[in-house]
């Protein structure tokens, strides 16, 4: 009995914490988004907050921006991360010394930096009075600081996309690298025997092997950027803000009576994220991603 239930019991503290804090918070948010807030004397359940959110332009403009930024950042991070992963793999193939490992560690560096810090780095480097702009001005490439393109707090969201591309590319490469490392050295030799060039080898063997886990990695980045707060808060524009920022603005600038609307945005966001998560789960099962190919 003990032996059988032991693993479950050992998991209990972790599970209890997750259930209490995560699902508890989510459930509380759901109740409050339906207008249930006993502390201020509201105990009815109604969908008015959701109706108001869906009818406001602010929400749709925010959703559009959120989708655009999430799609572009995940694709960019995917391309960069893919190139990074394949290059590291080829480097590892070619060199016999520990050189590849040094590069590997170097490219993993962004993983250790918190998103907030990453966002600030982008602000300091790329704002119009930032380091890069001042450098270019002193080199005479641009005449005035204002000639530097607006890359931070721009309405399109380039600052946010840039940050995520830089921050998530190593994550993508980290996820595909283990799959790539299963490719045997002998396969390369065999492909050479059949007359394959380096490019053929990449296209015919490396890319198909990494594709399932690459797709999943890009999906994960997409879901993350879709619902993250700090980078869009720092690097976005006042209006429209990405959905998490929009929800924060609603939550902080109104009275208690406006809270249900802010929480409704959060619940919609959570529902979309969960739906995307299920899609990822479905495909990762089907493709048996972590083995590399079906």
């Amino acid at each position: 009995m003990w032996r059988k239930s032991k693993p479950y019991l050992l998991l209990l503290p972790a599970i209890a914490t997750i259930v209490l804090l995560f699902f508890g918070g989510l459930f509380d948010g759901l109740l409050k988004s339906l207008g249930y807030f006993p502390a201020i004397g509201e105990t009815r359940l109604e969908l008015t907050a959701y109706a108001e959110v869906v009818q406001s332009d602010g929400f749709w403009e925010s959703l559009e921006l959120t989708l655009r930024v999430a799609v572009l950042s995940s694709i960019l991070a995917g391309i960069l991360g893919g190139i990074l992963g394949v290059s590291l793999f080829l480097l590892n193939e070619a060199s016999k010394t520990g050189q590849a490992r040094v590069w590997h560690r170097l490219f993993q560096l962004p993983l250790t930096i918190p998103h907030l810090v990453g966002g600030y780095v982008v602000v300091l480097l790329f704002m119009q009075s930032g380091l890069l702009s001042k450098l270019l001005a002193s080199l005479g490439v641009i005449d005035e600081l204002t000639d530097f393109p607006v890359l931070v707090n721009d309405p399109f969201g380039w600052g946010i996309i840039l940050t995520y591309a830089w921050k998530e590319a190593p994550f993508v490469s980290l996820l595909i690298y283990p799959v790539l490392s299963r490719i045997q050295r002998s396969w390369r030799d065999v492909s050479r025997v059949f007359g394959a060039e380096k490019w053929n080898f990449i296209r015919e063997i490396v890319l198909p092997v990494m594709l399932p886990s690459w797709t999943i990695a890009v999906f994960i980045v997409f879901v993350f950027t879709f619902s993250a707060f700090e980078v869009p808060f720092l690097l976005g524009v006042t209006y429209p803000g990405m959905l998490p920022v929009y929800s924060y603005q609603l939550y902080t600038s109104g009275t208690f009576a406006d809270r249900p609307e802010a929480l409704a945005v959060n619940i919609i966001l959570a529902a979309l994220t969960i739906a995307l998560g299920l899609v990822i789960y479905y495909f990762s099962k089907r493709w048996q991603v972590w083995k590399g190919w079906a």
Partner: protein
């Protein structure tokens, strides 16, 4: 060890349940004697207590003043451990108290909270504060002018002894003397200045505290003064129509703002950064001595100065309160009393510590104390106490602020 790990969550769940169930009768009786008893009895009840002070923790100098100046004195003189708990925003404090109230938690961890304005109103309206306790504090009775409007009301909301004044702040604009020799001193002049210097001015987006205060100055100056806003917001006639000139003004200057008003800095910290790096020429602060301390730290240029509007700028008082479910109320009272002492207030005034204006009535201080207060060097960037005092406007009540902040997003940011 393993057993302990297993038991921890179970114990947690049970104690949470137990806390919620407790009625706190004993607590209530103790609390009553604190409100009616002699002060020495409060002091003796406070000895050995551990007082948690929840407050906005975003300023190094404020944190240092509490940790290095106030806390050691509390320990030495009263055997009280003052434990500062930093919060991101005073609103988080109110949210947490509201949650504690809705689950019926009677032995809360917060003993002193630092609030004012809308947060005080929310706390008062929802019964999150303990009681009328300020009349019990010797230093309050001796040094505070409790009838002064800035002490008796907090952003238009009657204080009713629920919180004790800790200090005062006043809005100032910040400029670099070497770049802007004669800064604009009215909203009309500012509009002209902005047109002549496109891209050199902006203000933090709502709901930033300082940005919100900036547009209240616009409100006062474009709609004919603050007197008309004495009524509660839902009783005033045609509020939307009255606010119209303010939105017009803000939209008129928008194309000449930083980044053509396409976006606004999301926080005062960002605006300060734009000022420090020379991207804009002006910044602002609701703390008249902050610019001086930024100069001391080397973040702002030495030629940084502050200025006021000729028609005056907003001033407000910030307060210390005791939550309804504080478990160390005696300690909280003694700590608040100590923070209202002339010594603590004079130390707080010095920019080397914090640079916050005193909450005490100068007339009630002894000549020696007055002299000590006037002798504090506020730094070249700070205006004199007299000049600040002569240009004070009362704050707008919190219900208007919510309406204006929401209206700004609709009328200015979206346009």
């Amino acid at each position: 060890m393993k057993i302990a790990a297993l038991l921890a969550p179970a114990v947690l769940v049970f104690t949470l349940g137990a806390c919620a169930g407790e009625t706190g009768n004993g607590n209530a009786q103790d609390a009553d004697t604190l409100l009616t008893g002699e002060w020495p009895s409060v002091e003796s009840a406070a000895a050995g207590q551990e007082v948690n002070m929840y407050m906005w923790g975003g300023s190094d100098s404020i944190n240092r003043y509490l940790d290095d100046w106030v806390a050691p004195r509390m320990k030495e003189n009263y055997d009280i451990d003052l434990n500062r708990v930093p919060m991101n925003d005073a609103q988080d404090i109110i949210n947490q108290l509201l949650d504690e109230k809705s689950v019926g938690k009677t032995d809360g961890s917060m003993d002193i909270i630092w609030i004012n304005g809308e947060n005080f109103k929310a706390a008062k309206d929802n019964g999150l504060l303990w009681a009328d306790f300020t009349g019990q504090l010797p230093n309050y009775n001796e040094y505070v002018d409790s009838d002064a409007p800035e002490i008796a009301e907090d952003f238009g909301e009657p204080v009713e002894g629920l919180e004790a004044p800790w200090g005062q702040a006043q809005f100032v604009f910040v400029h670099d003397e070497s770049k802007v020799a004669s800064p604009p001193t009215s909203m009309a002049e500012l509009a002209g200045w902005v047109r002549e210097n496109p891209g050199q001015f902006t203000y933090p987006a709502m709901p930033d505290f300082t940005g919100s205060a900036f547009i209240r100055h616009v409100l006062y100056e474009t709609t004919g003064g603050h007197e008309q806003y004495g009524l509660p917001a839902d009783e005033i006639e045609d509020l939307e129509g009255r606010l119209e000139p303010m939105w017009e003004y803000l939209n008129d200057i928008e194309p000449y703002l930083w980044r053509e008003g396409e976006t606004y800095p999301e926080s005062l910290a960002k605006l300060d950064q734009l000022y420090a790096s020379g991207e804009v020429a002006l910044t602002m602060s609701y703390d008249p001595a902050l610019a001086a301390s930024e100069v001391l730290k080397g973040r702002f240029p030495d030629t940084t100065r502050t200025f006021l509007l000729a028609g005056g700028t907003l001033a407000n008082t910030h307060f210390l309160a005791i939550p309804f479910n504080s478990s160390e109320k005696a300690g909280a009272m003694v700590a608040i009393n100590e923070m209202l002492s002339p010594e603590a207030q004079i130390a707080k005034l010095s920019p080397a510590n914090w640079g916050d204006l005193s909450a005490l009535d100068p007339e009630k201080l002894s000549p020696a104390q007055q002299q000590a207060m006037n002798a504090v060097d506020l730094g070249a960037a700070t205006l004199s106490l007299e000049e600040l005092e002569n240009h004070r406007l009362p704050e707008l009540s919190a219900d208007y602020i919510k309406i204006i902040e929401k209206g700004w997003v609709e009328n200015v940011a979206k346009e």
